[in-house]
């Protein structure tokens, strides 16, 4: 069997052919027609393109190559709707190159992200909303490079809520107040689990700012949901109060003092296991045995610069306390050490591993 191969001259002016790799899950998704499938180009990052389905987000990477990759049409297939003129019946065994592709789109599953830049911070006072560009949660979801079903959980994890139809980020102090009240109500009512319908009126009676939408945010972040029943996620709540206690430290404090402050910050009768390990990624040690709060957001968003920033703050880092600050740069296919050792040295000190500058 042989085919004559032709190439269209000049290509088409109104469209271009592009090739995109299809992971298994996406291929399955395409079997159901009329679902959401769209490319999104976030403005917050340069050259960053994502593909969103209803439940998955993929980062799109352009893989250039130097081969001649032609999209060809088999003119024997009636669906093509093209024929060579003046060649008679012989023209049926012909291939026609209609597109030249010098790159492929490669898709990598990602969590997606919400564009929070410019969103107002809400601390319970309405004044903060004045002057900000009003954006509803629905508009925010449409303008964020994230799949629809993943949006809600990530939005709640960021302490995002809606006040008077405007998407806002709840301030940490406000979140602490609401959380404190929820725990106090649950303990007072002896609820081991509760529904939103039960908690919402009780919470509103304590403070009118604690609306149903605010409750949904806090419950989404700090509660586990099973059959519509919410139960407090104690480790997550303890971690939140631990971070708040760390933030309040004016100077470097010993582990023991921090644990005491952490314990006293928890609502009365609320028991949870307190372990400094859960606060890793939120503190550094300026002196041996003493720790201080360090916000990841204040460090550089690029790995090399971030590690430099970290060594400027302190020279020796406990390996386990260092890792959470650089974890986001370590690809799933690589070991952490393979990345860290490019920029830093790892040495053993007794039972501990310490990371220091090269």
């Amino acid at each position: 069997m042989s085919f004559s191969v032709y190439s269209q001259i000049g290509g088409s002016d109104d469209h271009k052919y592009k090739l995109m790799q299809l992971p298994k899950e996406l291929l399955e998704y395409l079997k159901t027609p009329d679902n959401v499938l769209e490319f999104k180009l976030p403005l917050s990052r340069k050259n960053h393109l994502v593909l969103c389905t209803e439940s998955e987000t993929y980062t799109v990477r352009q893989m250039n190559h130097s081969n001649t990759q032609l999209v060809v049409e088999d003119l024997q297939v009636p669906a093509v709707g093209r024929k060579l003129m003046g060649l008679g019946p012989d023209s049926s065994s012909s291939l026609l190159a209609v597109g030249l592709c010098s790159y492929l789109y490669e898709l990598t599953p990602s969590l997606g992200e919400i564009e929070t830049a410019g969103l107002p911070l809400y601390d319970g006072t309405a004044e903060l909303l004045v002057g900000s560009v009003p954006l509803s949660v629905e508009s925010l979801m449409q303008s964020s490079p994230i799949a629809r079903t993943c949006f809600q959980s990530q939005w709640h994890a960021l302490c995002g809520s809606e006040i008077d139809g405007i998407a806002v980020i709840l301030s940490p102090d406000f979140v602490t107040n609401v959380l404190y009240t929820i725990i106090a109500v649950a303990i007072a009512e002896k609820w081991s689990s509760f529904t939103l319908e039960e908690m919402a009126p009780r919470l509103a009676s304590e403070n009118s700012k604690f609306t149903r939408l605010v409750l949904e945010t806090i419950a989404g972040k700090f509660c586990e949901c099973k059959d519509n029943e919410l139960s407090l996620n104690r480790p997550e709540i303890a971690k939140w109060f631990g971070i708040m206690s760390l933030k309040k430290l004016a100077t470097a404090t010993s582990d023991k003092d921090l644990l005491l402050q952490w314990k006293s910050s928890l609502p009365p009768f609320f028991n949870a296991l307190l372990d400094l390990k859960v606060l890793r990624g939120h503190f550094y040690r300026p002196l041996a045995g003493r720790l201080q709060y360090l916000n990841k957001e204040t460090l550089s968003p690029e790995i090399h610069a971030r590690i430099k920033d970290m060594f400027k703050i302190t020279k020796d880092w406990d390996y386990d306390e260092f890792l959470p600050y650089v974890e986001e740069f370590i690809p799933a296919t690589k070991k952490a050490d393979a990345v860290i050792l490019k920029y830093a040295k790892k040495k053993r000190m007794g039972k501990l591993f310490v990371v220091c500058p090269r």
Partner: protein
């Protein structure tokens, strides 16, 4: 934030019919007639066709033809094309292919199954109301990994 919808109804249909069509001994194109042909390096082709009323023309050793196409809106268009080779499948082993270019060169190639299928996107060149269309899904490609050999 700029965004673009992808109309994948054709790809969805292609996924549906792919299983209904019996496998051809020559695995060349999808049920919708598309396939990928990959050659190492660059293929240099004429950028324009000779101006002639005739449907076929020969100039500088190249055969030029006219291609008639009818799109979804039944709009007819005629374009120029140039023949650059002849593709021949091995009768004993259909996964082996030879591409003869002109009268002096041949390329040995294979039909290769792709690690991940490829979606063919038809992207409008200008921004407008038209969505990006995913027109087909391709599972195999014909690849020529070696240098051209002379035809003896």
């Amino acid at each position: 934030m700029p965004s673009a919808n992808i109309d994948y109804s054709e790809a969805s249909r292609a996924l549906g019919v792919a299983n209904d069509i019996p496998a051809s001994p020559y695995v060349l194109s999808t049920p919708f007639g598309l396939s990928i042909l990959e050659i190492q390096g660059q293929l240099v082709l004429p950028s324009s066709a000779p101006e002639t009323e005739s449907d076929t023309a020969v100039e500088g050793g190249n055969t030029f033809v006219k291609v008639e196409s009818v799109d979804q809106k039944l709009v007819r268009a005629v374009r120029d094309a140039v023949q650059f080779g002849k593709l021949s499948f091995d009768e004993k082993d259909p996964s082996k292919v030879v591409l003869f270019i002109g009268t002096s060169q041949r390329l040995n190639g294979v039909v290769e199954t792709l690690r991940e299928p490829l979606a063919v996107l038809k992207v409008p060149s200008q921004d407008g109301d038209t969505d990006i269309r995913m027109v087909d899904i391709i599972y195999k490609k014909i690849i020529f990994k070696h240098r051209p050999l002379p035809i003896m």
